[in-house]
Structure formats: C-alpha cells, structure tokens
C-alpha cells in the first residue's frame, strides 16, 4: 500500500461553539478518486471546508507530507489543493475567461495560456462564451467553469462539493465521465462529496459515509455499492 496523499486524523470542525465534525479519520491515496457520501447536514461540506482552512478545526490533516490544518486558505491552495465549493462558486460578474485567470491566480509560469486553451478544448462551450459573464451561464456550464477554474491552479488534489447538485442526469453523467478522464490523464487525485451515491460510487475507488459528523462506514466503492445499509439509505432500495 502506498503512503496516503492526504491523511486526516481526529479532525473536528466547529462553527462558533457548535462542533459539527466529531473527530473523523480518512485518507486519500495518490491518484485515487474517493467519495464522501452522507445525508443533508451530515457535515460533508464542513469536512471539505476544514481541509481548505475555511473553518475552525482541531486534529490533523497531513497533505503531501505537511500539516495543513494551521494554514491560511491561500497557503493551502499553494500547496496544491483546489476546492470547487457547493453551488459552483464562480465569479458571476467576471467573464468566463477572467474566472479561469482567477483560477490561475497563484501561478506565474508561462503555461497559463496553454492550460486555458486545454480547458477550452475540454469544454468548447466555455470557449464560445469566454467573453460572457459567468453569471449568464447555465447550471451545467457553471459547473464546467467551476471545475476548469479549479484545474487552472494545477492542483494535486481536487475537492469537489456536490458537483451533481441541481443538474439534469445526462449532464451529471457527462461531468463525471470527465472527472474520470481528468483523473486518468492528468493524474489529479479527487475527493468528491456527493449525495448522488449511485453515480459517485460507480466512478470512485473508495468511499466513506458520513453520519452526523462521524464516519459511519468506509470501504471499497465496489463493496459499498452492494452494502445493504447503504443501498437502503442512499441508493433508494
């Protein structure tokens, strides 16, 4: 077994006085796609925000050999973690192209343009709309933009918070197929939070189920799909 790229130990997260994550443990290995499942309010978003330095935490998160729980969000991005927040998190007033430029904010190399072009190749619709404001895009296009924006920072680990939320099933399918391609071609490791367990488990290597701020179940994705409790709770049968 290889060393984990991300190793989270006894991680808690609190909003004000309220503890939302109660000491969770999980890991993501290099090049893996790992999914965190869980009902609304289980703490999935909070777990990702904790990794990005956006909420108060205790415990440890070791990423690529260094501790990141005590870092500011911008320093965590610079270490190679990109985060597509729930609800896309695009910059509606900025143009599509400017959104991608903001995604590359931490970079100063001269390959930004090439990478932008490859985003446009992946999603030609973004190229067509590159001068339009991001706010004028459809939900599916916004999600494409959000993912592209995150990739523009050349991340080692990509955090995705419910990318399927509010999108039509065919669009979700296309989106997730892309994730698999990116994972294979760019070698980007992915940690995906989802409520759509069916499609998420189909593409993931491993999964965790979060319940009320604690990890309830973990295992290989192929095994979780067949787990009775999970089938009942998250797969509608």
């Amino acid at each position: 077994m290889t060393d984990a790229l991300l190793k989270v130990q006894e991680l808690t997260a609190t909003y004000g006085q309220i503890e939302v994550l109660h000491g969770i443990n999980f890991e993501v290995r290099p090049q893996e796609i790992v999914v965190i499942l869980g009902a609304n309010g289980a703490g999935k978003t909070t777990a990702l925000r904790a990794l990005s330095g956006m909420v108060q935490t205790t415990g440890s998160a070791n990423f690529n050999g260094s501790e990141i729980t005590n870092l500011e969000p911008d320093a965590i991005v610079r270490k190679g973690v990109a985060h597509v927040p729930q609800g896309r998190g695009t910059f509606p007033e900025l143009s599509v192209e400017e959104n991608l430029k903001v995604g590359a904010f931490i970079r100063s190399d001269n390959e930004i343009k090439t990478d932008m072009e490859s985003c446009y190749e992946t999603y030609p619709v973004l190229y067509e709309r590159r001068m339009q404001s991001a706010g004028s895009l459809s939900g599916g296009e916004q999600q494409m933009l959000a993912v592209s924006r995150a990739l523009m920072s050349k991340p080692i680990l990509l955090l995705l918070d419910e990318p399927s939320l509010g999108l039509a099933p065919q669009i979700v399918e296309g989106l997730f197929e892309r994730f698999v391609t990116m994972n294979q071609e760019l070698g980007t490791t992915m940690l995906i939070v989802e409520q759509n367990a069916q499609i998420a488990l189909a593409m993931a290597d491993r999964g965790y189920v979060l319940e009320s701020g604690e990890i309830a179940v973990e295992g290989e994705a192929s095994l979780l799909v067949n787990d009775d409790a999970i089938r009942r709770a998250y797969l509608g049968g």
Partner: protein, 308 residues
C-alpha cells in the same frame, strides 16, 4: 414677441447654462469622492465614512508640500501616494482584524477615523481657511451669452474622467485589479483561489484614498473656495448621495450620480426661491429617494442598498 421678452428669454437661458456649468464643477468633485467610496463598497459593501476626511488630510499634505517648494502637480502626486500609503496602514491596523461580514464595528471604526483625522488636521492647520494654489489655468474657456465656463470646470471634469479611465484600466488589466474584482464578486471563492483577501482590500483602500485626495485637491483649488479642516463635510454628504444615486458598486455610476447631484444642487438654489442654500442637501436626498424607489440599485449599480 417683444424685444423685452427676448431679452429675458436670453437671460434665462444664460442663467440656466451657468447653473449647468456650476453643476459640472461641483459634480466632478462629488464624483471623485463618490468613486473612492464605490471602490470600497464594491469590495466590502461597506461605506467608509472617513473617506472625505482622508481626502481632506491628503489635500492639506499637498498644500504643505507646495509651501515647502515642491511644484504643484508634483505635490499632488506625492500627496496621493502618501494618502494611499496611509490608507493601507489604516486598513491593516484598524479594519482587517474585524470580520468583514459584521458591519457595525466597521462602521463605528470609520466614524472614529473620521473624527480623529478631522481633529488631527485641525490641530496642525487650525480652522482658519487657507488659500489653495491653482491647479488649472484660470479664467474662462467658453462664454455663451452671459454664461461662463471656466477652465477650472473643464479640467475638474477632465480629471474626473481620467481617474475613471485609469481605475478601470487598473481593475481590468492588472492581476491585483482582477483579484480585487474577484473579491468583490465572491469572497469565499476568492479565498479558495489563493487570493489574499486582506492585501487585496488594502489595495482598494489605497486606490480609493489616492482618488479621494485628488478629488479634495481639485475641490480646494476651486478659485472660490479655501481649504480648512471642515471643507469635505458637506462634500462628503453630497458624495455619499451621489454614490448611492449612481449605484454604490458602479464606478461610472459615481460620475453620473455626482453630476446629477451637482445639477440638483445648483438648479434648486436658482429656481426654487423658498429653498435656502442650506437645504440643497434635502433636495438631493429627495432626488435620491425618488430614483431608488424606481431603481433600488441606483442608475448603474447591481447591489441594492441594504444597510447604513
């Protein structure tokens, strides 16, 4: 029409034109201070009540530098840089430690800064009005009938346009400008893209203060005015109204708002005899209320005024 009528018609037109020209003069100043406030509002949805006093202090620095023998425009540029740096320090010391989403403490801080800067200026320069050097050629540029458009008005307006173009270029063509617009658009996502929020807002404070200092210097250079520590009090209120009128997050809105307020101010004084000069503010506010009733986000704005 009798010759007599023609004469009054001509005189009326002259008077109206003169009021329009006056509007240009005042409106340009209001617009420059309003632009400064818009910059800060865009990024933080916060009104910086100290903006006018920062600008006043900047103008006094310009005056002082000039008295020490620095050429006028050199003094203006140094004064702008100085107030930019001062604003950056103020942001770092007083603003950054507070949660940007919690407005009340921040509003109180900017009101506190207002009082402190005003007091400091009064201690150093006293309350006696001092004459401010001419920034622009004097005299009239155009005379239509009896209405005179001075070089001062033309240059004041031109400076205003120039500042807007420079700001627009900075915000759209530079990396820090892009970061500033990203922070204005989505704070959380900006963080997730690795933007340092504090530094970016600091940049906005510095830019705003520099624009404000230019505005106050131009205002004080008006041949009919002198500079004193309270010079920006009235202008500040008109500028806030102008900013709200134009749309608090729109740079060009600030220009339109400033000119509109300048217009209301000069026309009301002229044509509504029972409204004394001191009541022009009330007239400006009435116009603001009417506009906001039909366009809650102002002429060009996108965010509605919720607070303050």
């Amino acid at each position: 029409m009798t010759p007599y009528d023609e004469r009054t018609w001509g005189a009326d037109m002259d008077l109206f034109l003169q009021r329009l020209f006056d509007a240009l003069t005042n409106g340009s100043t209001y617009a420059l201070i309003a632009v400064a406030m818009v910059l800060i509002f865009k990024a933080t949805t916060l009104i910086n009540f100290a903006q006018g006093e920062q600008a006043m202090l900047g103008a006094f620095i310009v005056l002082q530098l000039w008295k020490w023998g620095i050429p006028m425009w050199g003094a203006v540029v140094i004064g702008m840089v100085f107030s930019g740096i001062l604003a950056a320090c103020l942001e770092r010391t007083f603003i950054r430690k507070f949660d940007p989403a919690d407005h009340l403490p921040l509003v109180i801080i900017t009101l506190g800064l207002f009082l402190v800067i005003n007091a400091v200026a009064a201690i150093i320069w006293r309350f006696d009005p001092l004459s401010f050097p001419q920034l622009f050629p004097s005299g009239r540029a155009v005379t239509i009938g009896n209405a005179r458009l001075s070089w001062y008005s033309i240059f004041a307006f031109g400076s205003c346009l120039l500042v807007l173009f420079v700001l627009q270029t900075l915000l759209t063509k530079t990396k820090i400008g892009l970061a500033f617009r990203a922070v204005s658009s989505n704070l959380e996502s900006s963080r997730l893209c690795g933007i340092k929020i504090g530094q970016t807002l600091q940049f906005g404070w510095a830019l705003a203060a520099a624009a404000g200092t230019l505005g106050a210097s131009i205002y004080a250079a008006n041949p009919v005015l002198q500079i004193e520590p309270t010079i920006m009090l009235r202008a500040l209120i008109f500028s806030i109204t102008a900013a709200a009128l134009g749309g608090l997050d729109s740079l060009w809105g600030a220009l339109i708002g400033g000119l509109t307020i300048g217009f209301v101010q000069s026309v009301v004084v002229q044509y509504i005899p029972f409204i004394p000069n001191e009541m022009t503010l009330a007239a400006a506010v009435v116009v603001l209320l009417i506009v906001l009733t039909f366009r809650p986000s102002g002429f060009l704005g996108t965010k509605t005024v919720e607070r303050v």
